[in-house]
Symmetry: C2
């Protein structure tokens, strides 16, 4: 399957986290069209499971969504940062927990039609509880939640975050990795 050829690029916005560029492309079928591309540095998201087999969910107000959302801990990659290092850092910042064991369980493109964002997904176990260190503009409540309740919340539409659903269910459906 052929790729699209970029005919010209215009940079529209270079921001704090995201950037916007407009690519005029020619498709393999010979059609010229515009692709609006949001550039994002990438991110990590973490399914952290404590010694009582509870998942650390977090609750925070999300301005873009216009409402409070329940998600798993996550954060944006710093330039050149190793995703596993970022996952360890974000977990302690957002929840106060440190993980002795961190393993990659997959990855997702969040919106491949217009955004470059790719999120690396991790499982964190062997947790030790400490104090959270949120960014100044973050207000996060941590909710250790039993797996059965996590599944109930997803099915009830109380968790509607793509990275959280993807990571939790990829892990849940992996053979033998989760018991409720």
């Amino acid at each position: 399957m052929q790729k699209e050829n970029v005919l010209s690029t215009r940079r529209v916005y270079d921001g704090r986290i995201i950037h916007l560029r407009l690519d005029d492309v020619r498709t393999p079928g010979g059609i010229e069209t515009l692709r609006e591309i949001v550039e994002h540095p990438g991110a990590v998201a973490i399914v952290a499971v404590d010694g009582q087999n509870r998942v650390l969910l977090i609750r925070q107000y999300r301005h873009a969504a216009g409402r409070v959302m329940v998600e798993i801990p996550a954060g944006t990659l710093k330039p050149g940062e190793d995703p596993a290092v970022c996952a360890a850092r974000e977990l302690v910042e957002e929840t106060g927990y440190t993980a002795a064991k961190l393993e990659r369980i997959g990855g997702i493109h969040t919106s491949p039609s217009f955004c470059t964002e790719y999120i690396h997904l991790f499982l964190a176990t062997d947790l030790t509880r400490g104090a959270a260190l949120p960014e100044a503009d973050e207000h996060i409540e941590v909710e250790p939640t039993p797996w059965a309740e996590v599944l109930r919340r997803m099915r009830a539409g109380e968790i509607e975050d793509a990275k959280s659903i993807s990571a939790l269910l990829l892990l849940f459906t992996s053979a033998g990795s989760v018991t409720t």
Copy 2:
């Protein structure tokens, strides 16, 4: 949990599908900070299951991701369009199949930290095959895929699309709805 108050808004870009605005906000903790918000009209994604219990996966080049991706059929809402109408339209456009039965199975925010996009997720069944009607700039290959192979591809990292993983696994883990 309190929301953030918008102090001022600047519109940066109004485009074909996405728009970009910059909001200066005050957090509940009294911090003033910038939120870069990508506005998106919302979308639908469809798990379409044929009479042989195969899922219609599609394969296409995604310029933002820079590679060919395997996903479920999906598309952007037109202004004021009912999501179920959009789902029926996008399914036939991208795959050629029409569905006699369409039911909502959930919804996801793809990137709630910076993007307003919300995707309505549907299950389509009682399918009838016809000719696909792709947009001029779309090049899509349709792959009816048995459930066991869909799960294998997700676990192997061959499907890395957030809406596809979320919709497929929300459906798969719903009691009694899927047999492989």
